[in-house]
């Protein structure tokens, strides 16, 4: 019976023309969409080319201006350092959170609660004005004990340090949650297998669990980096000379506000595009072992 059936199927499958072809339904909605999007884009291009308010000649003049380039360099530098600080803090806090130790868990909770719960702007200004609260930064026994080391806070806290602390601590709180989610996405059996082999806790974390967690950590972290790149512009409130502040200084002199904002926007767009490409390659690196079809037997 079953042998007969199999033979039947084998016969018909040799003649392709007998099998009905399956075609797609007409896509009317898509054509309407194409017309809509095309119209909007044509209008944007038309405006950009004909509206004299854009002043492309001014944009061209300032795009590679030395002042603007310095701002770009500072923006990149601040973003990189803030993200590294945020990543390190995030790892430490996430590990504390998952350690099972009540004291460490409490500290991690408190950190995330505070730095996620207060506006970055407030934190920035706070760090910048630390001198008002603590006239000197000193190392010694607290509550009035002897001092070993002391510098005036106004000297210690520069614009850059204030921006680094404000943005870095805040970023650390967000990264902690992203990293914790990533670590939780790794099956418990992985750290168990690593322990059973005799690996030390730090090896289990760095070599077995974290690389697997990276698959879940990289995409939201890419989001954070791109967000941070633009968010560093908030540091202009503590007079840090980053990209946004550099164009502000120029248009406060020549009043060419729109073209200079376009200069800044073009630079941000360019930098974000580069970051997106980098993110693509990092994601590819951490998906090692997952590529290809899921074709295993059982």
């Amino acid at each position: 019976m079953s042998a007969h059936l199999a033979l039947d199927t084998a016969e018909t499958s040799t003649d392709m023309s007998k099998a009905p072809e399956i075609i797609n339904p007409p896509r009317l909605g898509r054509w309407i969409g194409v017309i809509l999007v095309g119209t909007v884009m044509a209008w944007i291009v038309y405006q950009a080319l004909t509206n004299p308010g854009f002043q492309w000649d001014v944009v061209g003049r300032y795009l590679l201006d030395v002042g603007v380039l310095k701002g770009v360099a500072m923006t990149l530098q601040l973003t990189a350092i803030v993200m590294i600080v945020g990543l390190l803090i995030g790892i430490v806090v996430a590990v504390m959170r998952m350690s099972g130790d009540p004291l460490l868990i409490f500290c991690a909770h408190a950190f995330v609660w505070f730095f996620r719960g207060t506006p970055v702007l407030v934190q920035l200004v706070f760090w910048y004005n630390l001198a008002a609260l603590f006239p000197a930064i000193e190392i010694g026994i607290p509550f009035g004990g002897p001092k070993f080391f002391e510098i005036p806070a106004t000297v210690a806290i520069s614009s850059f340090t204030a921006a680094l602390l404000g943005l870095g601590l805040n970023e650390g709180a967000y990264m902690a949650e992203i990293i914790r989610a990533g670590l939780m996405s790794v099956d418990n059996g992985q750290s168990e297998a690593s322990k059973a082999l005799g690996h030390k806790p730090w090896h289990t974390f760095w070599v077995v669990v974290l690389p697997q967690a990276m698959k879940a950590i990289v995409p939201p972290t890419g989001n954070q980096v791109i967000g941070m790149l633009k968010y560093t512009s908030i540091a202009s409130v503590v007079a840090l000379y980053e990209l946004m502040h550099s164009v502000e200084l120029i248009y406060s002199r020549n009043f060419e506000i729109v073209p200079l904002l376009i200069v800044a926007a073009l630079w941000y767009l360019f930098l974000v595009s580069i970051l997106s490409v980098i993110q693509y390659f990092i994601e590819k690196h951490y998906s090692k072992g997952w590529q290809g079809q899921d074709d295993r037997g059982a």
Partner: protein
């Protein structure tokens, strides 16, 4: 193949009844363990001599995995001591009380005990070869060349020499489990623990894994195996221990326990686990 007796079994069965002259390799004494509100282990005693194969059977939820995990200190018992090779596992005697070791100290003890899991737990981001050589290189300080050489030897033994460069995800369950066994063996453990090594496999893939374990038994490796494969237990085990509800209810020479169980709970458990005679005929 399945019904053949390993020659070592006869020998081991006879040494088992002999007087207690030498220290057993594994000695669990009066192990108690709670998990949440559940009392999971209730005063378990279990021993395994050097070279002995102990099969641990019993319904799910009996506490078999928990006991196994206490033997290599993945979990620590609340009360009672596990000795492996005469050394207390998971704690040290200090001023008359047993104090837990740190994670770092535990890892040193675990390195000598191999464990194979139900879900293989290979590291998916590492190639098969890296999975095997990573621990010997890091923990035993072996050179890459030496570790790789032995990895290839082990891969040949489990019949997967051609898969050294593959990633675990692209292998079948049976192949993954054989790699997991090779990975554990690469640390040259003095004891191997298996927690239901074939329970996650399609039925047609179990034999390739069971055959590797049988081969290992023939080399004289001490093993404690949690399994539901009664026929396999008959073939490979010297001793069978049956657990139910956190306690070992029956223990003795495998052929006696599995053929003429005395405890009614063992009888019902075995009756339910024995393969359908019709299915065996196919």
């Amino acid at each position: 193949m399945r019904h053949e007796q390993h020659p070592l079994n006869e020998y081991r069965a006879s040494t088992m009844t002999a007087a207690k002259t030498d220290e057993p390799l594994v000695r669990c004494e009066n192990i108690w363990k709670t998990r949440g509100r559940n009392l999971v282990l209730k005063g378990v005693n279990l021993q395994a001599r050097k070279g002995e194969v102990v099969c641990l059977l019993g319904p799910s939820g009996a506490g078999k995995s928990t006991l196994l995990r206490c033997i290599n200190a993945i979990e620590l018992a609340d009360r009672g001591l596990v000795h492996v090779d005469g050394v207390p596992i998971g704690c040290a005697l200090r001023n008359g009380s047993h104090v837990r070791l740190t994670e770092s100290q535990l890892s040193r003890q675990r390195a000598d005990i191999g464990m194979v899991f139900q879900n293989f737990n290979l590291f998916p981001h590492m190639s098969v070869l890296s999975n095997i050589i990573d621990a010997p290189m890091r923990i035993r300080r072996e050179t890459r060349a030496a570790a790789t050489h032995r990895a290839h030897e082990l891969l040949r033994k489990v019949g997967l020499l051609d898969k050294a460069g593959a990633y675990p995800r692209h292998l079948s369950g049976g192949q993954q489990q054989r790699i997991a066994i090779a990975r554990a063996l690469a640390m040259q453990p003095k004891l191997m623990l298996f927690d239901e090594p074939t329970s996650a496999l399609d039925p047609h893939l179990t034999d390739e894994v069971l055959d590797v374990i049988k081969g290992l038994a023939a080399t004289g490796m001490t093993m404690i195996i949690v399994t539901h494969e009664i026929q396999f237990a008959r073939d490979v085990a010297d001793t069978a221990a049956v657990m139910s509800d956190g306690a070992i209810i029956e223990m003795g020479p495998a052929r006696d326990v599995l053929s003429r169980p005395t405890d009614p709970r063992t009888k019902t458990f075995l009756a339910r686990s024995l393969p359908d005679p019709q299915r065996q005929a196919v």
